[in-house]
Subunit: 178 residues, 2 copies
């Protein structure tokens, strides 16, 4: 099908030829090719985090963001990060991260204390138990990420996907997250 045909169809869904909402609207609709790619991306965004989360919870009792918190802390000097920086690198809002870290604190995986350098800030610190939990979870998690993503794409495809993800991210305003 030519692009001109795509444009003429002005359809919300690629499978339709008839009577969609699209026929009534002057908006700039997606072409069939754009829609197909977009729906593939939506599908991935739905299922990939779910699958990653499932494996971690099932095998290690950790959610995906909990894992990210432990991993990021493990690589920081003194296994310590400011909560605000930790929120940034784990893609969590500060309020969501606070709840999550409180739960990890209840399991003795993380502790919090005021930043000695500036008491207005709170630091999160990975405990030895947290480090151990991460060490036990990491091999299974990485094997899962490899099997779904890293080993499925060529290095060049993976690099491009990361780069294009960054490109899209640069357009997303995350400041309103709560």
């Amino acid at each position: 099908m030519s692009d001109a045909v795509h444009e003429r169809r002005k359809s919300l869904e690629p499978s339709s030829d008839s009577g969609g909402v699209a026929d009534q609207q002057p908006a700039k609709w997606l072409t069939a090719a754009e829609l197909r790619s977009w729906l593939s991306v939506v599908r991935l965004m739905t299922w990939l985090p779910w699958s990653i989360d499932q494996q971690l919870r099932h095998d290690s009792g950790l959610g995906m963001v909990e894992y990210q918190v432990l991993a990021m802390l493990s690589e920081s000097p003194a296994r310590t990060m400011r909560m605000s920086s930790l929120a940034e690198v784990t893609n969590a809002s500060l309020s969501r991260l606070s709840h999550l870290v409180k739960r990890l604190e209840g399991r003795d995986l993380v502790r919090r204390q005021p930043d000695p350098g500036d008491g207005r800030f709170t630091n999160a610190i990975l405990t030895d138990q947290g480090f151990q939990a991460l060490a036990e979870a990491a091999p299974g998690h990485l094997a899962h990420v490899r099997s779904l993503v890293i080993d499925v794409l060529s290095p060049e495809q993976l690099r491009r996907m990361g780069r294009d993800a960054d490109r899209i991210m640069s357009r997303i305003d995350t400041s309103g997250a709560d």
Copy 2:
């Protein structure tokens, strides 16, 4: 940095040179390049659905999956789909979809009835009000998708991203979703 160096570092996070969990484990760690791309994908998976959902809720009072339900129904013959097929195309489990469609039913946007051809199945049907809600939501949603994704990537980049998303999806077992 060479790949050999990446391999030697065996680090969970690209920023670390010292004392990460990775030093203790025989698992096959990600290279720094792989990790960077993976974290970009994770970041996108976290924020893109959030942004899409935000715009829809704010401007149209619909969640992302609710929108998908209305859109998929609008393009089906007689604006009707079996619940099981609808679950499939909206990436929802049947139980999650049932709750969601019940809520849409409460707002008179969708109704359900037994499949006339086989009473064991339930059909979801888009109401006129549902069609109208979709028609009002669609232009803003599509403009948002365009501004974040479609207009940011070249047609070739978008096509590749969709194709690589399909490739990853083919590895994900979604049968355990509830």
